[in-house]
């Protein structure tokens, strides 16, 4: 039997082989100093949303520093794209931000269409808009559920998934897939939507506001939630812009910047909606912005369904796509922020180089700024509030 005393070490033992750096001894307080503890949050941790490894330095419960270590999910997406034709890349984009496949595909096909100067049929544009907004709600619902879980409220998760299920079913009916849609095509979309499907979406639009009210009852109005999130993980507008934040994270920091308004694509310029934004820049603001975005998405969806024209759903596009040599950038407003696709073409069927701008990756860089000085519990709320998807961060 191993001897008890031999295997034991003190409470502050370090397992990572990292030396503990005691704070500078202070003459006035003598021996009374505290030392920090380095702790590995992840890559297997319930609330790092995938395989994020955050090396957290804590002083008691207070986060002194966070170092995020990414790359556990790296799949060489960009390199693989160099070996694929543009149509072959489409299914790969689903796998970057696997919670928002539609908008990823859209970013790629929009870029390719821009490079080709391709005109897309109006019906296809409307279908793309509908899919994007459904995707936004779909993704925000998952975020809502997991954010609740991060804060220790287990019930909202299941309510959110109830409604998310409806959207998943809608996607499945048209694309045959619930997650990896492979639906967008250069020049349009793969399948047309039926009248029956449109009716189902309308039913969802009728029902969903009630669900949103339910979420408000469940979580938004909760004083514990407010106390946990208000003033936590603050990012001001300047920092957010300097770091290249986009999407809800940027908008919650007081910058009402939305690509759907400021660089309209598809038919967004014909539709009426407001940009959801808040000025506080804390976790609560990001929470409220996302909830409001779902409401705005409903508005967009209603108008898009109303205006859905008859006609082609897949326009004429060259069978073999060769982009003229040059640099192309296209971006869309994904659920997490600006999804950008940067293509360098040498005139071949395959991109010479493809870079994917992933909003989660950008936002993850803000994590140390947001988390420093807060408590471990806040740290979890902050990670939840920036809504990272590791598939997109690591690509």
């Amino acid at each position: 039997m191993p001897d008890a005393a031999a295997t034991v070490s003190g409470a502050t033992r370090e397992q990572d082989g990292e030396e503990v750096r005691p704070t500078a001894p202070d003459s006035e307080v003598g021996d009374l100093h505290t030392e920090e503890m380095m702790i590995n949050m992840g890559p297997q941790h319930p609330s790092t949303h995938g395989v994020l490894r955050a090396v957290v330095t804590i002083d008691g419960e207070r986060v002194v520093d966070v170092d995020s270590d990414v790359g556990y999910l790296h799949r060489c997406f960009e390199k693989i794209c160099e070996k694929l034709t543009y149509h072959q890349i489409i299914p790969y984009t689903d796998r970057t931000d696997y919670l928002a496949g539609m908008t990823n595909e859209l970013a790629l096909v929009l870029t390719v269409e821009k490079a080709l100067g391709l005109e897309v049929p109006r019906r296809a544009q409307f279908i793309r808009t509908i899919m994007s907004e459904l995707q936004r709600i779909h993704s925000h619902l998952l975020w809502f559920g997991t954010f609740g879980l991060d804060l220790g409220a287990t019930t909202p998760f299941l309510y959110a998934f109830r409604d998310r299920e409806t959207i998943s079913d809608l996607f499945e009916e048209i694309t045959g897939a619930r997650m990896m849609y492979n639906y967008m095509r250069v020049g349009g979309v793969r399948n047309d939507v039926s009248a029956a499907w449109v009716k189902k979406v309308r039913t969802f639009l009728r029902q969903f506001p009630a669900a949103l009210r339910e979420y408000d009852d469940l979580l938004t109005g909760n004083p514990i939630l407010k106390a946990r999130t208000r003033g936590v993980g603050k990012i001001n507008a300047r920092t957010a812009i300097a770091y290249g934040a986009s999407g809800p994270v940027l908008r919650a920091s007081g910058v009402p910047y939305d690509l759907r308004k400021h660089d309209p694509y598809l038919v967004y310029d014909e539709l009426e909606f407001d940009v959801a934004w808040a000025s506080e820049g804390d976790v609560l603001a990001r929470y409220q912005v996302r909830l409001e975005e779902m409401r705005q998405s409903l508005r967009i969806l209603e108008q898009a369904l109303e205006g859905l024209p008859e006609g082609e759903y897949l326009g004429k596009a060259p069978r073999i796509i060769k982009l003229p040599p040059g640099h192309y950038y296209g971006h869309v407003e994904g659920p997490r922020g600006e999804v950008g696709c940067y293509i360098v073409s040498d005139g071949d069927r395959k991109p010479y180089r493809l870079h994917w701008r992933a909003p989660s990756f950008v936002h993850l860089q803000l994590l140390p700024l947001m988390a420093r000085g807060h408590l471990m519990g806040d740290m979890v709320a902050i990670i939840g509030s920036i809504d990272i998807v590791m598939g997109e961060v690591d690509r």
Partner: protein
């Protein structure tokens, strides 16, 4: 009278056994041993059966609150799910991490479990059905509840895991902080009843009214503190899954984990039983047999705790401390003061 009937049943049983012993010429200490064994077995049996039911109830309730069904497949209404889970956990390997402090690690679940059983020594199930009517009943309960803290510290510290250690810190801070308002809330009840004995407290409530009506403030303080003492959401910080993985029991597996789990629910049941006794008049009530009343009232608290668990998000560490020291403690003190004035009048 049903009261007499139920209370005389154990009495008759005892007298009968005593007669048997004298007839057979057996020594009386053997009788004492027998009585002790029967009592202990009854109480532990009661706890185990109820815990199995409680776990099922929690999952079922949680399921229905969360738009799903909870366990359905194993047994009728999924009732045997807990049994299946318990069996599964018991056959798991008992892993003791290399970095763990072996002896402390092994002892911690037991140290946690023993107080949760000990509480039941003074719980009055029905008139006359109580293992021992200690004249320090409520103090005894508070003392036993307090014994859980070192166990959690032991578990967290000995695991050799930083998450466990953090969980232990939280557990220690939380349990010690909430013990104070808990005891103060109990104190107000004790002042009203004029006795620490749980039986006397029930008797006092029979004479006046349930103390929940005389002590609404104390009741609220007790309820909040008790939920905090039980480490349940919104106060489940020591084992906050999304923050600390599993807190102090991160490294535990198999049987030892099962013991921790059992302890948690045994404590829930114990606290509920004590709350029912202190504030809802214990077993007293019309029409139904006292034991049924006891169970009903106990399960009312259990239900309340579960309902809260599936409704609220978790508090943050500093908010948790603020709630205890800046809100509950002053309220409890004012309550004690008010009760003092009330009693003096």
């Amino acid at each position: 009278m049903y009261l007499a009937a139920t209370s005389s049943l154990p009495l008759r049983l005892y007298q009968w056994t005593e007669q048997l012993f004298t007839d057979l010429g057996l020594p009386l200490w053997l009788l004492a041993v027998l009585v002790a064994t029967v009592k202990a077995a009854l109480i532990i049996g009661f706890i185990l059966i109820n815990v199995i039911f409680l776990i099922w109830l929690e999952r079922k309730l949680g399921g229905h609150i969360q738009n799903r069904l909870g366990p359905v497949y194993t047994g009728p209404f999924g009732l045997l799910q807990t049994v299946a889970d318990a069996l599964k956990v018991l056959v798991k390997e008992d892993i003791i991490p290399a970095a763990a402090d072996r002896w402390v690690f092994m002892a911690a679940p037991l140290v946690a479990f023993v107080p949760s059983v000990m509480i039941w020594l003074v719980v009055p199930f029905a008139p006359g059905v109580q293992a021992r009517d200690l004249n320090i009943g409520t103090l005894y309960v508070a003392a036993m509840t307090g014994c859980t803290v070192p166990a959690l510290l032991m578990a967290g510290w000995s695991s050799g895991n930083k998450w466990s250690l953090l969980g232990a810190f939280r557990a220690g801070a939380q349990l010690v902080s909430y013990e104070v308002p808990l005891i103060l809330a109990t104190l107000a009840v004790v002042m009203l009843a004029g006795s620490l004995s749980l039986n006397d407290i029930i008797r006092a409530q029979q004479e006046s009214t349930w103390f929940i009506f005389l002590q609404p403030l104390g009741f609220v303080v007790y309820l909040i503190s008790a939920i905090a003492e039980l480490n349940r959401t919104p106060f489940d910080l020591p084992e906050a899954e999304s923050e600390l993985v599993a807190g102090f029991n991160t490294e535990y597996s198999g049987f030892r984990f099962a013991i921790f789990f059992l302890t948690e629910y045994a404590n829930l049941l114990g606290s509920s039983a004590i709350a029912a006794t202190l504030f809802l008049g214990g077993w007293s009530g019309p029409f139904l047999p006292p034991f049924v009343w006891f169970l009903l009232k106990t399960y009312l608290f259990v239900f309340l705790a579960m309902w809260i668990r599936f409704t609220l998000p978790r508090l943050r560490v500093d908010q948790l401390m603020n709630l205890s020291w800046k809100f509950l403690l002053p309220v409890a003190l004012i309550n004690v003061l008010g009760t003092g004035v009330f009693v003096a009048l």
